[in-house]
């Protein structure tokens, strides 16, 4: 069942307090982030309905927003999501080669997940790191100045983390 822990519920309350009385819908985007982090890295219909109930808004208001913003995953994704930027400035610095290299290493193209559910690759548009290109977002942080060697070590690191978490 989808339910926030007490400290997460307190966090939701804290967020709602930031807005005027009755404007708790403003908390929707932050609370959806919280929900995605807590409930498996994506937003199921059940999760979205739960958020609607928490904020006392209708489910459709949540679906509308969840489908608009690119950071919300509406389907399950791998444990590690590689979001490689391929907009102009990154392209000028070789982002295509990085995407190809990830395909060679992991056998996944943009939008695909490895069979073991470990890695998902997504090509994304400019992330505001154009001067540190090529780059990708991995979870909360950016991995910048990518080279093949750096991609290798990122993959190794993820595998190691996954092994130690099990």
């Amino acid at each position: 069942m989808v339910k926030f822990s007490d400290d997460k519920l307190a966090k939701v309350q804290e967020i709602v307090q930031r807005y005027p009385e009755g404007k708790q819908k403003s908390a929707l985007i932050p609370v959806l982030h919280l929900a995605q982090e807590n409930f498996g890295g994506w937003l199921s219909a059940e999760t979205m309905d739960y958020v609607a109930e928490l904020l006392q808004i209708s489910s459709i208001e949540v679906y509308e927003v969840a489908t608009f913003y690119s950071m919300y995953n509406l389907q399950p994704v791998g444990k590690y999501l590689f979001e490689v930027c391929h907009t102009g400035p990154c392209m000028l610095r070789g982002s295509d080669d990085i995407v190809t290299y990830i395909y060679e290493k992991l056998g996944i193209k943009s939008g695909e997940t490895t069979a073991d559910g470990m890695f998902t690759l997504k090509t994304v548009e400019c992330l505001g790191a154009c001067g540190y290109a090529p780059m990708m977002q991995l979870g909360k942080y950016y991995k910048e100045h990518l080279t093949k060697e750096r991609v290798d070590s990122i993959i190794e690191e993820c595998k190691k983390n996954a092994a130690s978490n099990n």
Binding site: Y72, G88, K140
Partner: protein, 451 residues
């Protein structure tokens, strides 16, 4: 050496933390401003000539003076930290390195505008910067710069950080307001302007991160002194985020009197073109502004030196000039393909169109498709005219300026690099394996001598 007002202290060890920031003279502007009348602060900002750093260059003081003040209705200041225009990463740099400068500017601006609850709307991907900002806000609060009755003036102020969730359009101020209300980022039809009806229908001012940080030196030195830096209507300093094929990509603070050539070639800034190549073209102000071939970049069509400021970059209008925009400076070397680069930008705008207006929603998709087919050797000559036609039909026919922002890069690429598009059509196999090269784009242009 140019003047630095924002990043001068950015590399002092520990400046991210409150104690060092304060010992370096931080929060002096709050002490000064909170003794002034709010209207006088607005006046100083007007005198400074400070123009909005988010892209449009609208005078900040004037914007502040427009805010409506109906009895009993709260007003809000919203800081635009959505920073999603390709080529632009200056606000991030400022927030990561010297977050208290932004907080300080926000307190002064909140006081001037009468905002007791101020929001920083930051793009969702900058997740770790949220922590940096919240830490700075907490420190400011612990030290009495935020919260209730600040410096015993009776002024209350809280600053909250709101994360977006991946949508370039939320950088547009009315889309940002919608998003802050927990909705899709669909821009509103103006009027009413946010200064009258903004977030939760309350009067709202939206300003860029850099604009609000610049309020600190404006107040510290006084508007008139600030206005002496720079040239003409380009007052103060500007952050430029430089990227692409240069030796030293990064964020630089310039005073707006340096030439484009010096900015690209001097060791203090970009350090020249990478790998000993020659420069082919440059987009000087973020992906939305017109691309310029090298020969129109260093000199205007009149043969005058082009400088890094609002007026000089736009000299020649769209025919032979460009714009300062957001300060996202993208350099392309001789090996780069203009068609491919333009295609990635068109794809970006298609992806980011909110879909409300048909010229933008449909037009961005068509432009992306046609550019892709030309880029992959499947284009026809007539496609080039069709592209031109489509961009013309988007421009000026949409609710928000994203339509224009999508049209301009395509228009400028065809305007200045048409032979490269034609070459793709004429050489469908060759264009897959090599680039068009430099052609005449970097030649000296012939300037007719007129009496």
């Amino acid at each position: 050496m140019g003047v630095k007002l924002l990043l001068e202290k950015a590399h002092v060890p520990g400046i991210r933390g409150y104690d060092v920031y304060r010992s370096e003279g931080g929060y002096r502007s709050v002490e000064k401003a909170l003794k002034m009348a709010p209207a006088d602060i607005v006046e100083e900002v007007k005198k400074s000539g400070l123009r909005g750093r988010g892209g449009a260059g609208f005078p900040a003081g004037m914007k502040w003076s427009f805010i409506a003040k109906p009895e009993g209705v709260p007003r809000h200041l919203v800081c635009n930290a959505d920073e999603s225009e390709p080529g632009t990463f200056k606000d991030r740099y400022l927030m990561e390195n010297i977050p208290h400068l932004l907080i300080e500017g926000l307190i002064v601006a909140s006081f001037a505008l009468g905002s007791n609850a101020t929001y920083i709307y930051i793009r969702g991907e900058y997740a770790w910067i949220v922590d940096i900002l919240e830490q700075a806000i907490n420190e400011a609060k612990q030290n009495g710069w935020l919260g209730k009755n600040i410096l015993d003036t009776g002024f209350d102020c809280e600053i909250y950080v709101q994360r977006g969730a991946g949508a370039y359009i939320c950088g547009e101020e009315t889309a940002l307001i919608e998003s802050l209300e927990g909705k899709r980022g669909n821009p509103r039809i103006k009027p009413p302007f946010p200064a009258v009806k903004g977030v939760w229908d309350r009067p709202t001012v939206v300003n860029n991160v850099e604009t609000l940080a610049a309020v600190v030196p404006v107040i510290n030195m006084g508007g008139e002194e600030y206005a002496k830096i720079g040239v003409g209507r380009s007052t103060g300093t500007k952050l430029i985020s430089a990227c692409g094929n240069i030796n030293k990509p990064g964020v630089y603070e310039i005073d707006m009197t340096i030439s484009v050539e010096e900015f690209i070639y001097s060791e203090e800034f970009c350090g020249g073109i990478a790998n000993g190549k020659r420069i082919k073209a440059c987009i000087p102000g973020g992906s939305s502004v017109p691309i310029l071939p090298a020969n129109l970049l260093f000199k205007t069509a009149k043969g005058e030196t082009r400088y890094m400021n609002y007026e000089s970059l736009s000299d020649g209008g769209f025919a032979t000039g460009s714009m300062m925009g957001s300060g996202g400076f993208i350099v392309l070397d001789e090996d780069q393909c203009i068609v491919k680069h333009t295609y990635t930008l068109a794809r970006f705008y298609r992806h980011e169109s909110c879909g409300q207006c048909s010229p933008c929603r449909e037009g961005t998709g068509w432009m992306e498709k046609i550019l892709k087919s030309i880029e992959t050797g499947k284009g026809k000559m007539s496609d080039i005219d069709l592209l031109w036609d489509i961009q013309r039909k988007i421009e000026g026919n949409t609710i928000c300026p994203l339509g224009d922002a999508a049209a301009w890069p395509v228009a400028a690429a065809i305007r200045h690099f048409r032979d490269e598009f034609e070459w793709h059509v004429n050489n469908p196999i060759e264009c897959l394996n090599r680039n068009f090269g430099l052609a005449h784009y970097a030649d000296e242009i012939h300037v007719p001598v007129t009496a």
